[in-house]
């Protein structure tokens, strides 16, 4: 029996250990971090395999829930944890590019970010979820301002303000729920939701929805995203989009499905998703900086996932989870590539990056990533998008899907523009990418292609969506 809690304990343990290691050897930090993430990935895979058989309830401290805290790992949670840990592992290779001091703090923060995101995905207790949300957020604040320049601070400031307001609302929601049910276990709450006063219930839901919406980049709570992504160091940006955003959205899914199964609220979630997509894609179109464009695009993608969750049919939620997978991989790839490009072109302006993708080590993975994000088969981005759309159709959301597709065309437009710039012939000479850059790019690209061509394993996981929707783990 493998314990999901290890996914949280190991990064934490090593985060505590890192200062001691740094006393011994500062140079070994990146390798230790990568090794820890590798270990975590292996454990995540084991946990996932275990969870595929039956949902794991890992009891903390030996007290039966709801007395004690329990980690609740269903197949989907395990899947997501695996994605997050894998992404973290691959990004940590790119993290070796980081040269800015204090590196010790950087690696500690990344390990703790991983721990927080893992916790958010795994936990089955709503207050625990809040705690891990805060772990994630605070690690993110620290990482977002890591560059210590004006842009980084500004982005971090926005994130801090919105994030803490959001977490305040989460806490209000938890307080409201607790005040009426005197329990904090999600399944327990879900079971006894009927005992709540309806109005209080709605306020609680709205508060939680808002709070996790901030992390899940939902419109209009996502305003922090572009600047924070822009100001953060490049590997961190990749982590944000592939790790914290994913855990945020999973928390949101937990709120929507596991705790409050408000069937007739769902269409509003769809609308919020649509608005998120709309604003994300549209504003991305007019961006001139590469990272901002990718950040807004990330918002758009998250909106798609929210839409999928809101549609709420099995197929749509399958799509949403697939999309989480594809977005975690694709966006991380793009952000890493963007990091290299900014480094190589010495600017963030896309118009100055002519011909940078003509080096196949960058160009091919970049192309694969973009095509995947665009939703082209046979890359993983396709299945998520398609299933979400089909789910929408099966619920009869024609107009919404049509609008979504219109926004999607805008997305294609700016990515195509980006591709055009990046691949157009140019006389400029760019420094060749180091292995710390192209190895993660290629790894991500391999994952994208592999599971795009043969998505069977992923669909095997997604069979459990129906159980998830029914309020299970």
């Amino acid at each position: 029996m493998i314990h999901p809690v290890l996914l949280i304990a190991i990064p934490l343990f090593f985060a505590f250990l890192l200062p001691l290691i740094s006393l011994w050897s500062k140079k070994s930090l990146p390798y230790v971090t990568t090794a820890v993430m590798g270990l975590n990935t292996i454990i995540a895979i084991l946990v996932f395999l275990e969870a595929m058989k039956a949902p794991i309830f890992d009891i903390i401290g030996g007290f039966q829930p709801p007395l004690g805290i329990v980690l609740m790992v269903g197949p989907l949670g395990g899947f997501l944890a695996m994605i997050i840990n894998t992404a973290a592992l691959i990004i940590s290779i790119y993290s070796m590019e980081m040269k800015k001091e204090p590196l010790l703090k950087y690696y500690m923060l990344t390990l703790l970010l991983l721990m927080g995101t893992n916790g958010m995905v795994l936990t089955g207790d709503i207050f625990n979820l809040f705690v891990f949300l805060e772990v994630t957020s605070i690690a993110s604040y620290g990482l977002a301002s890591y560059n210590k320049d004006l842009k980084g601070f500004e982005g971090a400031l926005k994130y801090v303000i919105l994030g803490s307001i959001g977490s305040t609302f989460v806490l209000i929601g938890i307080a409201l729920i607790y005040s009426q049910l005197r329990t904090l276990n999600m399944l327990d709450i879900a079971r006894r939701l009927g005992e709540m006063d309806p109005y209080t219930k709605i306020v609680a839901f709205a508060s939680l929805f808002l709070g996790f919406g901030v992390e899940a980049e939902m419109f209009p709570l996502n305003t922090w995203v572009p600047e924070t992504y822009d100001g953060a160091p490049h590997p961190v940006t990749a982590m944000f989009s592939s790790m914290s955003a994913k855990s945020g959205i999973f928390a949101l899914a937990r709120v929507i499905f596991t705790i409050f199964a408000f069937a007739n609220y769902l269409w509003f979630v769809v609308i919020m998703g649509l608005l998120t997509v709309f604003f994300g894609e549209i504003v991305a179109y007019v961006q001139k900086d590469i990272k901002r464009m990718l950040a807004y695009s990330s918002i758009g993608q998250m909106g798609m996932i929210i839409m999928g969750l809101g549609i709420g049919t099995t197929i749509a939620v399958e799509g949403a989870f697939f999309q989480m997978f594809s977005h975690a991989m694709g966006k991380a790839l793009l952000f890493i590539a963007a990091g290299y490009m900014i480094y190589a072109a010495q600017t963030e302006k896309m118009s100055e990056m002519k011909g940078i993708g003509r080096n196949p080590l960058i160009g091919i993975p970049l192309l694969i990533g973009i095509l995947s994000i665009m939703g082209m088969p046979p890359f993983i981005g396709f299945y998520g998008k398609f299933y979400i759309l089909m789910g929408g159709f099966s619920q009869g959301y024609y107009a919404i899907i049509a609008l979504f597709l219109a926004a999607s065309i805008v997305e294609i437009a700016y990515y195509a523009r980006f591709i055009k710039i990046v691949f157009q012939p140019s006389t400029k000479n760019y420094p060749a990418p180091r292995s710390t850059v192209y190895v993660p790019l290629i790894l991500f690209a391999i994952i994208i292609v592999l599971f795009g061509v043969y998505p069977q394993p992923v669909f095997e996981v997604l069979k459990h969506v129906a159980a998830f929707l029914a309020g299970g783990a």
């Binding site: 303000i161 808002l210 195509a416 394993p457």
Partner: protein, 605 residues
């Protein structure tokens, strides 16, 4: 097992080829050729076989092979083969991208043809789209975005159609179509047809084509000759295989033509007209051919819209012809561009004397395009005209007929501007195109000639398709073909033509003539004896016509799209202002959002 061999040969082999030719860049063009050759040759044993299977890669790919698939594969794979053959001398050696993407596109196209459910269709469709996109990007980067946007528009229109289908049936299978109400069918078919029509570049969704067709010519030959036929296939499949004639007739009929199909027929006729008129005024060889392509596929659209056996048969036949002659034309243009590096018609001229074989192939393709009866291009056009006339459509028929007259104009512009007239001094030393290029064009020319003499052979296949889709049957025999109001016999035509040609030949060469071959500048100029001046009258060739059309040419769909896009981008800039970058505003958004969430919740629960 057999279907696996079909799937393997037509989809997996090109995919493997794509991978290999990317890895082995040095031999990429030859690998490409070999891997394109395999499906093209393997097609012949597969004639008349019917089989189906399900491949499970996580999503179930329902695949099947039947005569429709075979028929379309015949065009696609042959054109792809010719393009790859052509590319062996056209594309720079040691470049892996071209072969890889072409083979990916081919695999996608074959997959589309074999798909029997919408998910599979969509997967392969998009695969084909993006590989084509990158190919466009490689050479005409400026306009690749336009291609991509329209490809995606097409895909999204398909998604809308597929989605509505899914809403009613809960399945992606073609065969699951039952119990869909008529209004549902209307939307499904509308979206599917529009989606496929983008690929066929039907007006007003055609604006991508003139730009995309500026890329590398062997690819364009495949794009215009091959991939655009997938639009034809899709519309045929959607209207007659998935929905079926009974449902189309259920929309009400207008002289026994489905009211649903009729507007598309009109649109097709209109496309044919517009495409032709615009083609007449192009100076860029590739753009001219692109508009011509738009016009020709308009004819196909007419046939598919009308839906009588003659019309659909004509459409399929015309699609077949178009695949071949347009591929030759693009390859010919490619050969010219390869040798001279120029693509403006007014800058060329006289190349027919230096590149005689290229000229001959292009000439025959032009015969087919213009519908001169000595190629099979005539027969398909004839079928379409007769189909419109026998049902007495006084809007469609004249548009088609006048468009075909217009086709002579631009055909002659190509012939005269590029191959005839005065040879520029610059091009004195231009050599004939390399052998692979000529072989590619020759390969494509064969069917055009064969089916001009034996139309019955191809009509037999088309007839099988038509009976398979319950549309009806054609009247034909090996040499002749009939409609309810007329018919033509190719054997009689050929014999008479040959005899009379020989008579003319005799008259012409009856005496051994002392023929003096003179220099091209040695000609009659009304007493003027200028020194060497370029007097190739190809610049702004149809100026008088252009002047007369000028008031109408001001209205351009292209510019309308641009204005539309500009309007939206300005709107985007406005929306961007919502992101004020002031955290306090953002906090206020948060508050407002909270209140809205609450309000909605209150209202809903």
């Amino acid at each position: 097992m057999e279907i696996w061999s079909a799937f393997g040969i037509f989809v997996l082999v090109p995919l493997i080829g794509a991978l290999l030719s990317y890895l082995a860049r040095k031999y990429a063009v030859y690998l490409g050729l070999i891997f394109a050759l395999v499906p093209a040759i393997a097609l012949y044993p597969f004639y008349g076989k019917e089989m189906s299977t399900v491949v499970n890669i996580g999503v179930k790919l329902n695949l099947a092979f039947d005569v429709t698939t075979w028929f379309f594969m015949l065009m696609l794979d042959t054109v792809a083969l010719a393009s790859m053959l052509f590319a062996t001398s056209y594309v720079r050696k040691g470049e892996g991208g071209f072969s890889t993407l072409m083979l990916l596109g081919l695999a996608g196209a074959n997959g589309v043809l074999m798909a029997r459910d919408f998910l599979t269709l969509y997967i392969f469709w998009e695969m084909m789209s993006w590989s084509a996109y990158i190919l466009v990007l490689r050479s005409s980067g400026e306009y690749a975005r336009r291609y991509m946007l329209f490809a995606v528009l097409s895909a999204y229109l398909l998604i809308m159609g597929i989605g509505i289908y899914y809403y009613y049936t809960g399945s992606f299978l073609y065969s699951a179509a039952s119990g869909i109400p008529l209004s549902g069918w209307a939307w499904i078919l509308l979206f599917l047809i529009l989606g496929f029509a983008v690929k066929m570049a039907v007006f007003p969704l055609h604006v991508w084509a003139p730009y995309a067709y500026r890329s590398e010519q062997p690819f364009v030959a495949f794009l215009s000759g091959g991939l655009s036929k997938l639009g034809t296939f899709g519309i045929f499949m959607a209207m007659y295989s998935i929905a079926g004639v009974a449902i189309l007739q259920g929309f009400g009929t207008f002289r026994s033509i489905s009211l649903f199909g009729y507007p598309f027929a009109v649109l097709g006729a209109f496309t044919a007209f517009i495409g032709t008129i615009l083609a007449i005024f192009q100076d860029d060889l590739r753009k001219l051919l692109a508009y011509s392509s738009i016009g020709q596929l308009g004819y196909v659209m007419v046939g598919l819209g009308l839906g009588t056996p003659l019309a659909v048969g004509g459409a399929l036949f015309h699609a077949f012809n178009h695949a071949f002659f347009k591929a030759i034309l693009f390859l010919g243009a490619g050969a010219v561009i390869y040798r001279t590096g120029k693509y403006r018609i007014s800058e060329l001229g006289g190349l027919g004397y230096r590149m005689p074989f290229t000229f001959l192939f292009v000439l025959f393709a032009i015969f087919a395009l213009a519908g001169i009866p000595i190629t099979s291009g005539f027969i398909s056009k004839w079928m379409l005209y007769e189909a419109a006339i026998e049902k007495k459509f006084v809007l469609i028929a004249p548009l088609m007929l006048i468009a075909s007259v217009g086709a002579f104009l631009y055909c002659f512009r190509i012939l005269y501007g590029v191959f005839l007239g005065q040879l520029d001094k610059e091009h004195e030393n231009v050599k004939e195109a390399p052998a692979p290029m000529l072989a590619a064009m020759a390969l494509l020319m064969l069917p055009l000639l064969i089916f001009a003499i034996f139309p019955g052979w191809i009509l037999k296949w088309i007839n099988e398709i038509l009976t398979g889709a319950n549309i009806g049957t054609l009247k034909y025999d090996t040499y002749a073909y009939y409609s309810s109001i007329g018919g033509a016999d190719m054997l009689v035509f050929w014999i008479t033509f040959m005899l009379l040609f020989m008579i003319s030949m005799y008259l012409f060469t009856r005496k051994r003539k002392v023929t003096k071959v003179v220099d091209q500048y040695d000609n009659y100029l009304a007493g003027e004896t200028p020194p060497y001046v370029q007097l190739h009258a190809a610049h702004n060739f149809y100026k008088p016509l252009r002047d007369t059309w000028a008031p109408l040419l001001r209205y351009s769909v292209d510019r309308a799209y641009e204005k539309f896009v500009k309007f939206f981008i300005e709107g985007f800039e406005e929306i961007k202002k919502m992101y004020t970058e002031n955290p306090q505003d953002y906090a206020a958004y948060l508050g407002i959002a909270f209140l809205i969430f609450l309000l909605v919740g209150w209202w809903l629960l």
